[in-house]
Amino acid sequence: MTEIQTYLRELRRHLSVDAITEDEILREVHSHLEESATALQAEGFSVQESQRLAIEHFGDVREVARLMRRVHSSSVNEAILASCLPVALTLSFKWIVLPLLASMGHWQGNPTPIIFGALAILALLVPGLTMHRWRYGYAAWAFFSVIAIAEIGT
């Protein structure tokens, strides 16, 4: 593994941003380091030395990752929001919308499984279809979706 590859691997480890942003950042940094190293080789440095110098000019990997995280932190917030959506939508429907309809006299009896099922499917689809630029939310999204489905059965 070259020094540039090691640097990119370390950068990936410290980034903590969504998958698409991470890919873009790594491609851009890779392009920069390769061009920088090529220019240094043209000045007479060895392959290894030119890569080391290119990395040195680029800066500390943790600092670069920290600054990048600061710029792209909203993507993580989106993931948290998306992961909470299924249960939030389902519970708000069950606890707020249905009682409100019942109090207005437009709703009789218990909530029908069909309406609840449709809502749950919608709740599960929304984050998956619209907020695809995140990765760490998937586990939480799946967890909350299971809660939402379980809630339908109660």
Partner: protein
């Protein structure tokens, strides 16, 4: 952080916007151009340039576009947007006023150094 480094950090946006306003550029090119035009004064850690570029892209001042290169990895070229052009005019005017005022005050310092005050 040294005062010089502080000042350079504060000028990143206007410097990037003014370079990209001339023609679309990619990160490495911007870093080298800044270094060349300032005779090495803006020789900062190149990795700190990218968070600034991404922040400006998110803010709608720049638009990034990947271009395939015949040899080597593809490059992300940054184009200035209409919003970026307007911001450049505003920020450049602000910097001109700022530097003029600073220089006016620094004239007194020159007087102190030469012993005329």
């Amino acid at each position: 952080m040294s005062p010089a480094r502080d000042m350079r950090k504060g000028s990143t946006t206007v410097l990037i916007l003014s370079l990209v306003a001339e023609r679309p550029m990619y990160g490495y090119q911007i870093a080298k151009e800044l270094e060349r035009r300032s005779d090495g004064y803006f020789d900062f850690k190149e990795g700190t340039l990218y968070p600034a570029l991404h922040r400006m892209e998110k803010g709608g001042l720049l638009r990034g576009e990947w271009q395939v290169v015949a040899e080597g990895p593809s490059r992300k070229y940054y184009h200035i947007t209409e919003k970026g052009k307007r911001a450049l005019v505003d920020v450049a005017a602000e910097w001109t006023t700022f530097s003029r005022k600073i220089l006016a005050i620094l004239e007194n310092v020159q007087g102190v150094k030469s012993g005329t005050m």
